[in-house]
């Protein structure tokens, strides 16, 4: 396993576990977490999928060697479940205290007695144990290649927070340029933004705004994904794009041949975005990826992101985004603007912008649950343009939707603000991040109550769902 080893857990599961471990009786309680796993250059993350709370006195009983222990039957059933589901088995208990926690000698002795056999039973695990205090966690993780300590736990909710075995002491003051904004979220908030890796899918109108604002906020690492080049019609929307990027000397000519040459030599949107971000913050780490999120190699670049912005129009990219969020427990947001027209009168109707936060919790209501990934559209987009024409599923794919920067700003601005408040801990506690639609002609902002599909293949814990499976699941991509 690559170090550091961490765990990610959604806030609802964390709250459920905390309520079980710390009901106010100051006693010890136990549970088991079944988790997926993902390994990248940033380390190894365990992805908490389910918690099995042990009933006191029945499944968590006085131990023969230690104070309390999970019963053999409880361990056998849960480890069997983990083996069948290819998940990692992690036993959990609590100690007293608040900000510091560690295993006792008895704890370590029981790990040494039990975990070698459990590793065999679960076919390589990893297996291990977590011990919680109210605001701290430590972990002892066993793999066939050795033993590892848990570095930290990330809890993903409307506030993203980290728990460590003991408080971190080092705090570097913010750079002078961030003095004004760090008055809002402090040096710690600025430091948190500086260590984030953020993905942006689609660097058109909305994505280019997000890109520039993230650079201004001081985000440390951006990974921008888009296969498209700058077109002359993008110039009113893409931040920082120039006529030179669009090869306008050629692409504005009458000659079809010269226009084609111009399009071929136009700059990639991600290259423009990188230039913009670097101009704002020369220290930023920036990966400008000319690629398609539908390709596994490209999508996999985001599995260890801290947050993903989806600013692309296609339904296929929504499918992959929704899968990344839930399979790897990476929160994200989808942004877009819609300018519907009445087919008969050809007049514009309800113009709206959408900001849809997608949180990796079951029962939160994801893009799939809310019918925003229609199977028929996926089918149509899977066809080549000429096939689509032949099968008459589009009138003319060359005719693009209306798109205006002022509308992009509304959805992108809300999304970046949500992102900033999540990671700097400034949202009101317990806030539910609902989809937000802004009907601009009526100046009306609506929050959408989510629909929840109990057997959702992305966000539920049903047997076939990908939630928190990490590298042991498969993304819906081209391989």
């Amino acid at each position: 396993m690559r170090k550091p080893v961490s765990m990610t857990m959604d806030a609802r599961l964390f709250d459920e576990l905390q309520a079980h471990l710390f009901p106010g009786d100051h006693d010890e309680h136990g549970a088991v977490i079944a988790a997926g796993i993902v390994e990248t250059e940033r380390g190894t993350r365990l992805l908490a999928r389910e918690a099995f709370l042990a009933k006191d006195g029945v499944e968590y009983v006085p131990g023969t060697r230690g104070y309390r222990a999970l019963t053999a039957r409880f361990v056998a059933e849960r480890s069997g479940h983990c083996e069948n589901e290819k998940l990692c088995y992690l036993s959990v208990h609590c100690h007293g205290g608040t900000d510091r926690v560690g295993f006792s000698g008895d704890d370590f002795a029981s790990h040494e007695r039990g975990y070698p056999a459990l590793l065999d039973i679960t076919r390589g695990g990893p297996v291990g144990a977590l011990v919680f205090a109210e605001n701290a966690v430590a972990g002892d993780l066993w793999t066939p290649r050795g033993r590892f300590q848990l570095d930290h736990l990330t809890v993903v909710g409307s506030v993203v927070k980290r728990l460590y075995p003991s408080p971190l002491s080092e705090l570097v003051p913010s750079r002078a340029m961030y003095e004004r904004q760090s008055r809002l979220f402090g040096d710690l908030g600025q430091a948190i933004l500086g260590r984030l890796k953020v993905g942006i899918i689609g660097l058109g109108g909305g994505g280019s705004l997000i890109n520039e604002w993230l650079a201004h906020l001081g985000v440390g690492h951006i990974i921008a994904i888009d296969f498209d080049r700058v077109d002359i019609t993008n110039l009113p929307r893409i931040v920082g794009a120039t006529r030179w990027d669009a090869c306008s000397l050629l692409s504005e000519r009458q000659s079809e041949f010269l226009r084609r040459i111009g399009k071929r030599f136009a700059n990639y949107k991600v290259k423009v975005a990188k230039r913009v971000a670097k101009r704002v913050n020369p220290r930023i780490r920036y990966d400008a990826v000319v690629g398609d999120i539908l390709d596994l190699e490209t999508a996999a670049l985001l599995k260890d992101a801290d947050f993903i912005f989806l600013a692309s129009d296609s339904i296929q990219s929504r499918l992959v985004f929704n899968a990344l969020v839930h399979q790897y427990l990476v929160p994200g947001v989808q942004v877009g603007a819609k300018v519907p027209a009445d087919e008969k009168t050809k007049t514009i109707t309800n113009v709206f912008t959408a900001t849809r936060p997608v949180m990796p919790s079951p029962g939160y209501g994801c893009l799939e649950c809310n019918d925003l990934i229609p199977p028929s559209k996926l089918r149509e987009e899977a066809l080549a343009v000429n096939e689509r024409r032949r099968q008459r599923y589009t009138d003319d794919p060359e005719i693009a939707e209306p798109s205006v920067i002022a509308l992009n700003v509304l959805s992108a601005g809300q999304a970046v603000s949500d992102f900033m408040l999540m990671f700097t801990g400034l949202f009101e506690p317990g806030l539910e991040l609902r989809y937000q639609l802004n009907f601009v002609r009526e100046r009306q902002i609506c929050k959408v109550e989510p629909t929840i599909k109990l057997n959702c293949p992305d966000c539920s814990n049903s047997a076939n769902s990908r939630r928190a499976r990490g590298d042991r699941g498969r993304l819906p991509c081209r391989e």
């Binding site: 296929q316 199977p375 028929s376 089918r379 099968q391 498969r474 819906p476 391989e479």
Partner: protein
């Protein structure tokens, strides 16, 4: 591009649902599969009374719907009426002259709908026209 495990399973379910029929499978560039089921009986309303049934299982199956379906373009109705709504053609599909049957599933459910089930339903619908 290799066929995805889900598409592979979809193809196996088609084979299992049409025993005794030749099922031709050609890999699609993105990981899907073009499937043709040969010699399917379509009842007394049509001449000829058998056809092949073809469709693409797209690479994002089962999240993506399976449609349209295609049948032999030479099929005509015995009563000499034209084919009704939902059937169009002729067109070229996978180097075959074909009629297109458009039966989009408005409530496609990735957990329960399959390419095999859809093929059976489309065939039943075509026979009932």
């Amino acid at each position: 591009m290799t066929v995805t495990p889900e598409v592979k399973q979809g193809v196996e379910e088609v084979r299992a649902s049409f025993p005794g029929h030749v099922v031709e499978v050609v890999d699609e560039a993105q990981g899907g599969a073009y499937v043709v089921i040969r010699d399917l009986p379509i009842g007394g309303k049509y001449i000829p009374s058998t056809t092949w049934l073809g469709f693409l299982i797209p690479f994002q199956y089962p999240r993506a719907d399976v449609y349209p379906h295609f049948v032999d373009a030479s099929i005509v109705r015995v009563d000499n009426k034209g084919h009704g709504g939902g059937i169009s053609g002729r067109m070229d599909w996978q180097n075959r002259s074909a009629l297109q049957i458009s039966r989009k599933s408005n409530h496609w459910d990735a957990a329960s709908d399959t390419a095999a089930l859809k093929a059976v339903k489309v065939l039943e619908w075509f026979i009932a026209q």
